[in-house]
């Protein structure tokens, strides 16, 4: 029996019958679902959360950390992703490693995220007005600003006031920023010579004890496992939601949504329990919080006579405009010791290139790695040698690495999209999601500029570059976005500025799938802020 089986059997949620009466049914127990559920349960509403994946025990995290470090296991093994449940296709210009960039379970993808929480900049909401690119969001930075502050408090963000490029804020961060690392000095000095200003990085990681969670102790394995719980993950708010009275069912993937005869209101979420039995959870309001792949997939799976192209899809936009951040990396070695892998998160970056004048190249930022090059533990286990030979091998490879990473903006493109692959089915017989990811010329040209800046920094630092990505072959930033986009026009968008679908009166979406454009900032704080906003609007409707 796996640890997960044991956990699910003993977690008190073994009763997977639907609730008789629910005000709100939330689909997905990641950070968005947890925050929505907590916000509404705290206001006295009856909330049921349906989560496809399991409930993981906190005590097992160290075992998962070991799994991450030992070469017998893949990335997806750490949080038990893969298999029929998570089958998918990837048919785009670039391969999309979907199961490496998501976790299904209570806490969702934040169980393995790195934890950075910058706010989007004003320009990210105004791409059409400023540059004639893509579309403006129907809301502005000022509309989201109070929710950003609330999200920073909820998640517990450590940050500094030293970033001159950050958008305006009204109050200090809940915790002080993590100071720069030893290896940051090498690259920051180079930046200074180049006239590039560097600063701290806001992150949902405790620089001191916060919200009954410990200070970071530096296990060095933040991505994909934080054994101490100092890094925020969505299970924090799921637990708070339960304490406020919400009911959370794990291992109950929602199969489809059913609506009334008029096709105007969702009546029930049909979910399957581990033994294959289907149940209907009825509610007055529904909130989809399953991320930018499973959310459009569920809507497409819920096609009906009234909604023949999928639920909430009169615009045809469901699944379209799939975006990610393009991750470009440049790695190298220097002559001095850089002491990498002491911690598993970055502590310095530059947002100097984010707010650009010309339309293209667009936004990107560059951060310095504190985990560049191979981990000494992984090297020791992967090398094959033993005795003095293994020490020689590890010592040759570990010690002087430096690295930079850049997140790069891509524009929404209707042909970059999630569809149903009807040639393959999951463990419940449903067509799997097909990810057709393309990055477009704007993404390529912005990536070229980001790589140029990274190379300038590395050259100035005297680093010998050992590897870098190429402009047309970025890595996935692990930030899927855009597939149920927000807009004022029901002809071209899926949800309105209240995060409610244009087509159904009681269906809202809390996810990066509502982003109209994606910017280049890590998305989770914006997801959390919009989730708080969605919860406010649902509360108004109850």
């Amino acid at each position: 029996m796996s640890a997960t089986d044991q956990e699910s059997e003993t977690n008190g949620s073994a009763n997977r019958e639907p609730s008789d009466r629910a005000d709100v049914c939330v689909v997905g127990a990641g950070p968005a679902g947890g925050i929505v559920a907590h916000s509404l349960a705290e206001r006295g509403h009856d909330v049921v959360v349906l989560e496809a994946g399991p409930r993981f025990s906190f005590e097992e995290r160290i075992r998962r950390m070991e799994r991450h470090q030992r070469p017998a296991f893949d990335q997806a093994d750490v949080w038990e992703m893969g298999g029929e449940r998570d089958a998918f296709s990837s048919s785009g210009d670039l391969n999309y490693p979907l199961n490496d960039v998501r976790v299904k379970g209570v806490g969702g993808t934040t169980l393995h995220w790195i934890g950075y929480t910058p706010r989007f900049h004003e320009k990210d909401f105004e791409m059409d007005s400023r540059y004639g690119l893509a579309d403006d969001w129907p809301i502005a930075y000022e509309d989201v600003r109070p929710y950003y502050a609330a999200a920073e408090r909820e998640m517990g963000v450590a940050g500094g006031e030293d970033n001159p490029f950050a958008p305006p804020r009204e109050e200090s961060f809940p915790m002080d920023a993590f100071p720069a690392s030893h290896s940051d000095a090498t690259l920051s000095t180079a930046c200074e010579e180049l006239g590039i200003e560097t600063h701290s990085i806001p992150q949902a990681r405790n620089s001191e004890a916060y919200d009954d969670r410990s200070q970071c102790v530096g296990y060095g394995t933040c991505h994909p496992v934080c054994p101490s719980g100092a890094k925020y993950s969505g299970d924090v708010h799921v637990r708070k939601a339960e304490e406020a009275g919400a009911r959370v069912l794990d291992r109950v993937p929602v199969q489809r949504l059913e609506h009334d005869d008029a096709g105007e209101r969702v009546e029930a979420a049909v979910y399957a329990t581990p033994d294959g039995t289907e149940h209907r959870q009825e509610a007055r309001q529904f909130v989809l919080a399953g991320g930018a792949v499973e959310t459009p997939r569920l809507l497409l799976l819920s096609e009906s006579e009234q909604h023949p192209d999928g639920l909430a899809n009169s615009s045809g936009a469901v699944g379209r405009y799939f975006m990610d951040h393009l991750l470009h990396m440049t790695m190298g070695v220097v002559s001095e010791e850089t002491r990498q892998h002491q911690v598993g998160f970055s502590t310095a970056a530059t947002h100097q290139f984010y707010d650009h004048e010309e339309s293209t190249p667009g936004s990107f930022f560059v951060a310095f790695l504190n985990y560049a090059g191979p981990s000494p533990v992984e090297l020791a286990l992967e090398n094959g040698a033993w005795g003095d030979d293994v020490v020689d091998a590890v010592s040759r490879e570990y010690g002087t690495h430096v690295g930079t990473e850049a997140l790069v903006e891509q524009l929404p493109d209707a042909e970059s999209r999630i569809t149903l692959d009807t040639s393959r089915t999951d463990d419940h017989g449903n067509p799997v999601p097909d990810v057709a990811w393309s990055i477009g010329d704007h993404g390529v040209r912005t990536g070229e500029r980001a790589l140029e800046v990274q190379r300038e920094i590395m050259d100035e630092a005297g680093a010998r570059i050992t590897w870098s990505t190429s402009p047309r072959q970025p890595l996935s930033g692990s930030h899927p976005m855009g597939t149920t986009r927000m807009g004022a026009d029901p002809e071209t968008s899926v949800v309105d500025e209240r995060l409610r679908t244009h087509d159904l009166d009681n269906l809202s979406i809390a996810s990066s799938s509502v982003f109209t454009t994606g910017g280049a900032m890590n998305p989770t704080l914006t997801i959390a802020a919009l989730s708080l906003k969605a919860a406010d609007h649902v509360d108004e409707d109850l």
Partner: protein, 183 residues
């Protein structure tokens, strides 16, 4: 360089064994107590694993490590004490390793000298074997014995220092050291 019980407890923490100190007290008590037949069989298997791991240490660990016996005994005892699956996996790997040792040296591995042990691991090609807990005999030996002991060593601060870091990933100490230039 001496590897201590304290290092073993650090390694056990990185392997997810909480309360390593309590485990050690229990294991010391068990070794000194009488037992019934079932417990005796379990204790025999336990001892086979510990003794084989102890014999592997001078082969696997660098010459700079003077005496790893207590470290290995402590680590392995903690690792298998309350984990039936891992104990079974390690016992199975010991049996597979002993089969190879018997074929080449007509002896169990724990009775070989370090030189003979090194020759055996080299002769069977373990340096080219990928670890797999559900794989072939050699893949399980690589996972449950060779990589197990290498993980114990290099996830501990003392083992980390052999390769340039006193806070290897998996050890909760990086926050105190990441800003500093010196070890």
């Amino acid at each position: 360089m001496e590897l201590t019980r304290r290092d073993a407890i650090a390694a056990l923490a990185a392997a997810g064994v909480a309360g390593g100190g309590a485990v050690l007290v229990a294991s010391d008590r068990d070794r000194g107590s009488e037992s019934n037949d079932d417990e005796g069989a379990t204790n025999d298997a336990h001892e086979d694993i510990v003794e084989t791991a102890t014999a592997l240490a001078p082969v696997l660990y660098p010459s700079e490590v003077d005496d790893a016996a207590e470290f290995v005994r402590t680590y392995v005892t903690g690792r298998i004490e309350n984990d039936d699956d891992h104990r079974t996996g390690m016992a199975d790997a010991v049996a597979a390793l002993d089969a190879h040792a018997s074929e080449e040296f007509e002896s169990n591995f724990r009775e070989l000298s370090p030189e003979q042990g090194d020759r055996l691991l080299t002769d069977v090609g373990l340096d080219r074997v990928r670890p797999d807990p559900a794989g072939s005999d050699l893949e399980r030996i690589r996972f449950y014995l060779v990589n197990e002991l290498l993980y114990a060593l290099f996830s501990s601060p003392t083992g980390g220092e052999l390769v340039g870091t006193e806070n290897p990933p998996g050890h909760p100490g990086g926050l105190e050291s990441y800003q500093g230039a010196q070890r």
